[in-house]
């Protein structure tokens, strides 16, 4: 029998029970769409992370403490970095203490993710300019004034339709005056970069975090090419100030944007693999659905198989017919799944704009064809092996 003949027979088999075929295809559709879409989401968030880190600037370094509790980064250590002799390539140093807290305005509470306490130099170093109003000044910090610059999301949540500048909000039982709103930033993965507020370090330590160790220190180098030099200069200064708790280890860690990018990308890749694996499981379940339905089909059509064999159908002909039928189910389901994924990728999912990986389409389609052949194989082989008399007698 020719190819068109086989396809026609298979198509007739598939359309004979439309609802059942449609549901079986749905299983494959969901599996394929999930693989493509979730990989695209993982890929999209990795892309967003790298975009953001590149936007942060390649001339900054972040110093974090390796030890929890006592002996972390101190303000004195941060101040020591501002040293034109030992560290000539450092332009600015911004100590950071941040915490999650609740911010209240006119009876409205808002849980803020990152309430950052830092110094005035942070706005330039972190590449976070103020859009409306003004940033706080070094003087504000020295005086411990309670002023705050809020992110876009916070402004929208607390001041719907109002101009936040000049308003007073309550944070940790103290009143802070809003002096400005940050320019909007592109978001990274699941974390909203605009869900933030920045206040002078002294005020934040007094009201919220206390005078313990700093969370991190953001250091800006004079030039991206001087980043390596700055790194060694930081080490020179901090090694004196922050002796390691145990010999051979450092009490702090310095990361520059490139390293940050690398670790973040690795995390994103792990994340993508995980998502893909979960989606692959749903594809497998869809495949088992095909086996199930083909087994039912073969059982249901045992008599028909008997008739066909009595009319001279060869074993291979029967095998081909049922295999083609199963493959048709999976291929149509797979193609619809690709279409669904392409449509779904136009929308942002949990804050991430999915970026389709072309190879994932080829992979998902290939796997769906393989599933049709593999999972349809068992029922098809069973059908082909039937002796005509047994098939005909089957009730």
């Amino acid at each position: 029998m020719g190819l068109t003949e086989t396809l026609r027979f298979a198509l007739r088999g598939v359309t004979a029970n439309k609802l059942r075929s449609a549901l079986t295809m749905l299983g494959i559709l969901i599996g394929v769409a999930a693989v493509i879409l979730l990989v695209a989401v993982g890929n999209g968030s990795a892309k967003a992370i790298s975009d953001r880190i590149e936007a942060l600037g390649t001339n900054t370094l972040t110093v974090t403490s390796t030890s929890r509790g006592s002996g972390g980064l101190t303000l004195a250590a941060a101040d020591a970095l501002t040293d034109p002799v030992l560290a000539p390539d450092i332009v600015s140093v911004s100590p950071i203490a941040s915490t999650a807290t609740t911010i209240t305005y006119a009876g409205t509470d808002y849980d803020i993710n990152q309430f950052v306490g830092t110094q005035a130099s942070w706005f330039t170093a972190a590449n976070s300019p103020v859009r409306t109003g003004a940033a706080f000044t070094a003087e504000d910090d020295r005086q411990g004034r309670r002023v705050v610059v809020i992110g876009q999301t916070v402004a929208e949540e607390l001041f719907a339709g109002e101009d936040p500048v000049g308003k007073q909000v309550t944070v940790g039982g103290a009143l802070f005056t809003v002096t400005g709103v940050l320019a909007e930033k592109s978001s990274t993965g699941f974390q909203d970069a605009n869900d933030t507020a920045v206040a002078p370090l002294n005020a934040v330590r007094e009201v919220l975090t206390g005078y313990g160790p700093l969370g991190s220190i953001l250091v800006a180098a004079a030039d991206p090419s001087r980043v390596d030099a700055v790194e060694s200069q930081i080490s020179t200064v901090l090694d004196q100030r922050l002796p390691a708790a145990t010999p051979g280890t450092a009490a702090y860690r310095i990361q520059n944007a490139a390293q940050l990018l690398e670790t973040q990308t690795q995390t994103a890749a792990t994340f993508t693999t995980l998502l893909g694996a979960v989606a692959a499981i749903s594809l497998l379940v869809g495949g088992i659905g095909i086996t199930n339905i083909m087994l039912v089909t073969v059982t249901e059509r045992t008599r028909e198989i008997g008739i066909r064999k009595a009319l001279g159908a060869r074993r291979r002909t029967v095998l081909t017919q049922f295999l083609t039928e199963a493959t048709l189910l999976s291929v149509i389901g797979g193609a619809l799944g690709v279409a669904a994924a392409l449509i779904g990728a136009r929308f942002s999912i949990v804050g991430v704009q999915p970026v389709i990986v072309p190879s994932s389409i080829a992979l998902a389609l290939g796997v769906s064809v393989a599933i049709g052949l593999f999972f349809g194989g068992l029922p098809a082989a069973r059908a082909a092996r039937l002796r005509p008399i047994d098939a005909l007698r089957y009730e």
Binding site: E304, R308, L311, A313, T317, P388
Partner: protein, 256 residues
């Protein structure tokens, strides 16, 4: 048992055929040594009560089942030595099988049903269609070619099945109680088709337990307990359908 016919070499030669089902206590001997030859162009009716082994014999003759012992030569070829693939070829080319339960493929038009054996034989679509239409015309159902089985009466379905059995021009047409599920009028239609086929030179073997059906064959074999009890030649086949017996091709719609 020697060949009674004078129509040339035997198309079917069965020697000491036995068939045993089950094992031990539950053993059933369906056939206990059947020996029988049928010549080309003969018209044989096999009769017997239920349990006499006639259906078992028919399934073996149709290569749907295999005997436990004995030889079955079809057109001079020992069927037991054939591979699965060759058996499919034999069923396709040499045998046309008509079932009691019609056994048309559901949701498939009469024409497509008749075309099926040709499709398995690898005949090209255009030629297939032409031959299938000719076969349907022969059984008087050319005007029902596009109907699906559930749109046809029992008699019409069986005529489609007969058309399907003869479309490959097989050496042997086997019919297992072809009229068992039909009323007398449809029975007559089918038997008329068989008469005409036989007149055109086809070898026909049918199973029946209706004496008036058996009476139209040229040779009547009676089975009892898996053995041949009698084998008689009937010179003047009885029955009302004789006028059509020697006409070559019936007019379509003549018996609808």
């Amino acid at each position: 048992m020697t060949a009674l016919g004078t129509h040339g070499r035997p198309v079917l030669d069965v020697r000491a055929l036995t068939k045993v089902y089950g094992e031990g206590e539950a053993v059933v001997r369906a056939l206990r040594g059947i020996t029988l030859t049928v010549d080309t162009g003969d018209y044989v009716a096999i009769m017997g009560s239920s349990g006499s082994g006639k259906s078992t014999l028919m399934n073996i003759l149709g290569c749907l089942d295999s005997p436990s012992d004995g030889h079955y030569l079809l057109d001079g070829v020992d069927v037991s030595r054939l591979s699965d693939r060759q058996l499919a070829l034999v069923r396709n080319r040499l045998i046309g099988f008509v079932f009691q339960a019609f056994n048309l493929i559901p949701r498939t038009t009469a024409l497509a049903n008749v075309e099926l054996p040709l499709a398995y034989a690898g005949v090209r679509p255009a030629q297939r269609r032409r031959r299938a239409m000719a076969a349907l015309e022969l059984v008087g159902l050319a005007d029902r070619a596009d109907h699906q089985p559930n749109q046809l009466s029992g008699g019409q379905q069986q005529r489609v099945a007969v058309a399907r059995a003869l479309v490959t021009e097989p050496a042997l047409v086997l019919a297992d109680e072809p009229t068992g599920n039909l009323d007398s009028r449809s029975t007559d239609d089918i038997l008329t088709v068989f008469d005409q086929l036989n007149a055109a030179g086809r070898t026909i073997i049918l199973i029946t337990h209706e004496p008036e059906v058996g009476a139209r064959a040229r040779r009547l074999i009676r089975l009892f307990d898996g053995q041949v009890r009698s084998d008689t030649r009937q010179d003047t086949p009885a029955g009302p359908g004789l006028p059509g017996r020697h006409s070559a091709v019936p007019r379509s719609g003549g018996w609808a």
